[in-house]
């Protein structure tokens, strides 16, 4: 399984005007890794799928703001 997020650590100058963000992140959703969808992919129930936005569990990748304190929901 792939991770939905990757991190990097940019150079921090001692003269940066703003408080540095030491860890930067970017999204790497599952569609980057799966290629052609294989047969017998795990499915959500129809009701769950309508909420999730996809029928296929491996493609589900909910995004939460890093600024939201607590991850609500799941």
């Amino acid at each position: 399984m792939s991770t939905p997020e990757k991190f990097y650590y940019p150079y921090i100058s001692p003269f940066d005007p703003c408080k540095p963000i030491r860890v930067k992140s970017y999204s790497t959703p599952p569609n980057l890794y799966i290629g052609f969808q294989p047969p017998d992919f795990p499915q959500f129930s129809p009701k769950e799928a309508l909420r999730a936005g996809t029928l296929w569990k491996p493609f589900y990748d909910p995004y939460y703001s890093p600024y939201e304190k607590a991850k609500e929901g799941q």
């Binding site: 999204s27 959703p29 599952p30 569609n31 799966i34 290629g35 052609f36 969808q37 047969p39 309508l50 909420r51 999730a52 936005g53 996809t54 493609f59 589900y60 990748d61 909910p62 995004y63 939460y64 703001s65 890093p66 600024y67 939201e68 609500e72």
Partner: protein, 189 residues
Amino acid sequence: MWVYEKKLQYPVRVSTCNPMLAKYLIEQYGGADGELSAALRYLNQRYTIPDKVIGLLTDIGTEEFAHLEMIATMVFKLTKDATPEQMKAAGLATHYANHDNALYYESAAGNPWTATYIAAKGDPIADLYEDIAAEEKARATYQWLINLSDDTDLNDSLRFLREREIIHSQRFREAVEILKGEQGKKKFF
């Protein structure tokens, strides 16, 4: 021909009166990587793409209009009862001067929608790569919108829309694989 279903693809609930969010959301309405651009891009490209993937462009292009309608609903709910004073406070005074509280196809920076946002090269691979890029850019836009918004109900709908971008990107990637061919025996579903 289309058949219209008089309901949204996913419920849109807005829990806070925050017209400033409308100013940001309009990016997905009339921005370069917005839903209008997406719908028109795909529905236009499908005439000159191999038969095997025409249906995909029709389906996704149609769904983009359903997303457009969700974004419109969000913007409308956030601004419909806003007074000129509230519009001004939300940075929407320039919008109000021209449009009152009406919606308009423009970017968050106020640039009107333009056909130069979309491409149709006529080359199937070039066009599908453009579509994949457009989906990833729209996905990123939804992330920045979620970061800007503290409305949890609204974010729930935005998360749904972002998930759909992921699926669309996946299907366009599969379409490229189909058109590439030469992959030995592939199974299609």
